[in-house]
């Protein structure tokens, strides 16, 4: 006689993470009140509870931050590279020491499951600082025959899906190459960035090397257009990316953009299906699908489509949606009400367009922002849900018959950030990787990241690379060695 086994709640304790009632802007090595006098409330998207009041940096605050960064640049860029490495290694180690606290904060403020912030986000953050600390005194080997000079002050604007990880992707290469930064975290997820500011103080990083200004869209816009900025790095929506390009056109500011995506995850009939199902789940439901490189379009060879979709639906029923701080939660909260509404709107469009909707049965908590794992079958290339980035736990399934058709459909998108290929045939993986117009092509896996591996897009997914030697290039000007 079989029984029903429900896992008891296993919440991670929040005691380790102290959230202050109010924060300051981190400028010139101290927390200061905003000259604007304005604050916004940051909440826990799983409960809608207010966590803290966060300053909104105005134009004058941006002036102060850029000035502090400029002042710090003079010394920081002349510091012996091994000294820069020393600070960065310290940062990496403190991130490891405070990893549980950072993971809890990330899940409280952003809604992502603790198992992801604990096992993916925070370890990768530390890895990024370790990796780039290693480069700081070896730049001549990154660019043989050249001298790599820092650009100056970098203005960096990051999104809410991987708050601390995107901070690391931005700050680590900038610091390693001798730049100073003014970083604006996303409106909805400022807490780990502000804790990172505390870490900068803890490791004795010289004042002004890292400045963190919080706020919403207008704060980011003010930072990007500030004349004292030499380099703009942005991760976020394609729409905002285009605005930024317009804003800085005609200036000497260097720019890297990491924007949206609509990645194809291509499953051939010889693929290991059970592992492919895991890859699909990881591709689209990881971080509630709030991933720019999410595998949101599933392209399945028609001969195995029915079987694969059956397996996928069955797997969906085992996904556990709920409290992000529960160690067994697979699907956390949607990051914000706005994002939830966007997902609902696009899913509604998918239904109207005639695609077949499948959602796993799951209990949705009464409060907070939630969306069940969703799969659309019978999707055509011409459907909006196959074209537009949904940025939620919503998968569009399409079929193909031949490898050529798979490539054609995979590339038939304005984006080009990532792609996945699932097949047991090694030669076909290489054949596909040659033809897919995407910055990253994963073979028999999905959503794998490493600081040594460059990440970035084609077409409307942006330009420039982050990570690896290529990522350093965005933060230096190269002059032939004397």
């Amino acid at each position: 006689m079989a029984g029903r086994w429900g896992y008891s709640p296993a919440p991670e304790s929040t005691e380790i993470a102290s959230v202050r009632d109010t924060y300051g802007l981190f400028i010139g090595g101290e927390f200061v009140e905003p000259l604007s006098g304005d604050y916004l409330k940051t909440i826990n998207p799983a409960t809608e509870e207010v966590l803290s009041a966060i300053p909104i940096a105005g134009d004058q605050d941006i002036d102060r931050a850029v000035e502090a960064a400029r002042k710090a640049f003079a010394k920081w860029s002349k510091l012996h590279p091994s000294q820069r490495a020393k600070y960065m290694f310290r940062i990496a180690r403190v991130i490891q020491e405070r990893s549980r606290e950072l993971a809890v904060l990330e899940s409280m403020n952003g809604g992502k499951p603790i198992k992801e912030s604990r096992d993916v986000d925070v370890p990768l953050v530390a890895a990024h600082f370790f990796y780039h600390a290693g480069w700081a005194d070896k730049l001549q080997y990154a660019f043989p025959g050249h001298e790599a000079k820092p650009l100056g002050v970098a203005g960096q604007v990051i999104p809410w899906n991987f708050p601390l990880l995107m901070l690391a992707w931005k700050i680590a290469p900038a610091l390693a190459t001798g730049n100073t930064v003014v970083l604006k975290p996303a409106e909805t997820t400022p807490l780990t960035a502000l804790t990172f500011a505390e870490i900068c103080l803890q490791v004795g990083l010289p004042p002004g090397v890292v400045n963190i200004v919080t706020g919403a869209g207008p704060t980011g816009a003010a930072l990007v257009r500030h004349p004292g900025i030499d380099k703009v790095a942005f991760t976020g929506s394609t729409e905002v990316g285009k605005e930024i390009q317009k804003t800085i056109a005609g200036t000497s500011k260097k720019l890297t953009l990491e924007l949206g995506g609509k990645a194809a995850n291509v499953i051939f009939d010889d693929a290991p299906l059970d592992q492919a199902v895991e890859g699909i789940v990881n591709g689209i439901f990881f971080n509630q699908g709030h991933v720019c490189c999410a595998g949101s379009r599933l392209l399945v060879q028609e001969s195995v489509a029915a079987r694969l979709v059956d397996k996928l639906k069955r797997r969906l029923s085992t996904l556990r949606l709920g409290d992000p701080l529960d160690k067994n939660t697979d699907i956390g909260a949607i990051n914000s009400r706005d994002q939830l509404e966007k997902i609902r709107r696009l899913v509604g469009i998918g239904v109207e367009e005639g695609a077949e909707l499948y959602q796993a049965e799951c209990d949705i908590p009464d409060r907070g922002f939630w969306f069940p794992p969703t799969v659309f079958t019978g999707v055509s290339q011409s459907h909006r849900i196959a074209q537009e980035e949904i940025f939620g736990p919503v998968l569009s399934v399409m079929t193909f018959r031949t490898p050529d058709e798979a490539v054609e459909k995979a590339n038939n998108t304005p984006y080009g950030l990532s792609a996945g290929v699932w097949t047991e045939k090694g030669s076909r993986i290489l054949w596909m990787a040659d033809r897919l117009r995407a910055g990253v092509v994963w073979a028999n896996t999905f959503n794998r990241f490493d600081p040594g591996s460059p990440f970035g897009g084609y077409k409307e997914s942006g330009f420039g690379r982050e990570g690896g030697r290529h990522g350093l290039e965005s933060y230096v000007s190269l002059e032939p060695s004397r």
Binding site: A2, W5, Y7, D274, N444
Partner: protein
């Protein structure tokens, strides 16, 4: 147990399928990080006892040893009636009569290894005769080994025929086919061997004899569970899973239960469809149950060593 007809070997090709090693190991590792606490842990510990095949397979096994273990199988915690009996006592064929005698009326099944355990390197007639001997002596369940040599040499048909013959020889008894995953070399072969054994009529597929290293592993159990799931879909028959070898702690046992739960579903969370072959595991399960109930660990000598 109802007699099961073998399906044609062709079903193995029809189900087919490949396994990606990296992906399977990652999935198993991710499931092993499930956090099982409080009531759900107590429930799992109780289930693990009910699914336990308490095992002794040593050259030194004697009637005395088997009688002691039988007593443990019936009452793992004497004096605590809330603790259930285990599923079966697993012994060598020679000791089946002793086990039958000692377990009579208890509800604990008698399982016997057979077919030249653990290597299976014995003429087929002798292996089948061994099954018949064990059945005649009263065994309810037979743990057979597949011929890994034949399988690795590529003769799936011969393996299929042997398992089918063993199943026939066992009559009404429940047949568990041991794949000995430690000798198969890849997850693809583990999947394939699992499908062949199931097609041939095995009621349960089992990871290992416990005599070869590695014995049972989480990814191998996952791959076998996935094969069971596919086989049910294609063949319409629910096959059981037994993990055995090296499972010594309650934590390990719960990890296997999570894999079964999330791969095959609640229907497999029962001794009819899931078994753990072990000897020292039982006391750790008892100790952890007491810890859950009392909030502290008891002296290890409060748990009987049989």
């Amino acid at each position: 147990m109802a007699t099961v007809e073998a399906l044609p070997l062709e079903i193995v090709d029809r189900i087919g399928g490949a396994v990606d090693q990296v992906g399977a190991e990652e999935r198993a590792a991710s499931l092993s990080r499930r956090s099982i606490k409080k009531d759900s842990k107590l429930w799992a510990l109780d289930l693990a006892i009910r699914c336990c095949d308490l095992t002794t397979l040593e050259g030194s096994d004697s009637p005395g040893k088997v009688r002691q273990l039988a007593s443990k199988a019936i009452r793992p915690a004497p004096g605590d009636p809330s603790i259930p009996h285990v599923a079966a006592l697993c012994v060598y064929p020679n000791l089946v009569p002793t086990a039958v005698e000692a377990l009579r009326g208890s509800g604990v099944k008698v399982a016997s290894v057979a077919t030249g355990f653990p290597s299976g390197q014995m003429p087929l007639e002798l292996r089948l005769a061994e099954i018949e001997r064990a059945i005649d002596a009263g065994a309810d369940e037979i743990d057979i080994v597949i011929s890994r040599g034949l399988f690795l040499a590529g003769d799936e048909r011969a393996v299929f025929e042997e398992v089918a013959s063993s199943k026939r020889a066992a009559g009404e008894a429940h047949v568990k086919a041991i794949l000995e995953i430690g000798e198969l070399g890849s997850y693809d072969r583990i999947r394939r061997a699992a499908l062949v054994a199931m097609a041939a009529g095995a009621d349960t597929i089992k990871t290992s004899t416990g005599k070869v290293s590695p014995a049972s592993t989480l990814p191998a159990a996952l791959v076998m569970a996935e094969a069971i799931r596919d086989f049910e879909e294609y063949g319409g028959r629910a096959v059981g899973l037994k993990v055995a070898g090296g499972i010594r702690t309650a934590k390990d046992a719960i990890r296997y239960l999570v894999i079964v739960h999330e791969t095959l579903g609640d229907d497999w969370l029962s001794p009819d469809r899931f078994r753990i072959g072990a000897s020292s595991l039982l006391n750790d399960l008892l100790m952890q149950i007491d810890f859950q109930r009392n909030g502290f660990y008891s002296d290890p000598d409060r748990y009987t060593l049989d």
